[in-house]
Amino acid sequence: MKMARDPRPAAKDPEDTMADDKTTPAAAAAANNPYTQIHVVQSGDTLSKIAQKYYGDASLYPKIFEANRDQLSDPNRISPGQKLRIP
């Protein structure tokens, strides 16, 4: 996972982050669980930064990506205001 520690591009316009319907089991489990923590994307956020904040390790960003596959199609593209589940 070479990309893991690379800085992710910062949050972009919502139009760029249209999700395709790729709901994974992790995403489904997180989506159905009201106790899954939610992070509201701020301008300048990346999945790596978010992973760093919640897990202390930026390389774990795929966990967040997988849990949000229903709304993210590209880990490089998140947009301010998006509500991401943090498993």
Binding site: A29, Y35, T36, Q37, K53, Y55, G56, D57, P87
Partner: protein, 199 residues
């Protein structure tokens, strides 16, 4: 004069005997009624008001002893208080039974949402613990100790949750909810310790 005295003593003794015998009927009736009333509520009282039951049982035994000694007057005298005590015991047991039945009905009602809620809390914690276990560094505010405590807590919560579902399965929703609440409380603490409660 001597004849008169003998006659008088005999008459007094006879009167006393008649007096005693006169009390025997009411005493027997009072004791019978008390025993019947006591037996009618015994099982309910044993279940819902065992301490009061013991006190009333002693009171009844005292009256029985008086009857056995032939002290019918004492039996008749004690009967009203005994009847009041038995009536009070019945009221206490009935009130306690109603209270427990209401609590059970509420616990049964609460169990539905709780039975889906608690496993989700546990799942959310398990997911976070699994991810943090793979992390090279822990996030701000989370220590190795709190992560270790969360792992231990998860094991305990799963065990307690198992007991709760077993209790619910046997219809004991009061115990089930009590254990479920313990799991919820512990889960809430662990979620806070892992920084899962802030956005």
């Amino acid at each position: 004069m001597k004849k008169l005295s003998i006659w008088l003593l005999t008459a007094l003794a006879a009167l006393a005997l008649v007096g005693c015998s006169a009390d025997k009927g009411p005493a027997e009736k009072a004791l019978g009624s008390a025993e019947a009333a006591f037996n009618a509520i015994h099982d309910q009282a044993m279940k819902y008001a065992p301490q009061q039951l013991g006190a009333v049982e002693e009171q009844l035994q005292g009256v029985k002893d008086s009857y056995a000694k032939g002290d019918y007057k004492a039996v008749v005298a004690a009967a009203p208080a005994l009847a009041t005590a038995i009536s009070g015991l019945k009221d206490a047991a009935t009130a306690k039974q109603a209270e427990l039945e209401t609590a059970l009905a509420k616990a049964k009602e609460d169990w539905g949402p709780t039975s889906t809620d608690v496993p989700k809390m546990v799942d959310a914690i398990q997911s976070r613990v699994d991810i943090l276990s793979k992390s090279h560094h822990l996030p701000k505010g989370v220590t190795k100790d709190s992560l270790a405590a969360a792992k231990t807590g998860l094991t305990a919560m799963k065990s307690t949750w198992g007991e709760a579902t077993t209790a619910a399965g046997s219809g004991d929703f009061t115990t089930a909810m009590s254990k479920a609440q313990a799991v919820k409380d512990q889960a809430t603490k662990i979620m806070q310790s892992l920084g899962m409660t802030s956005g």
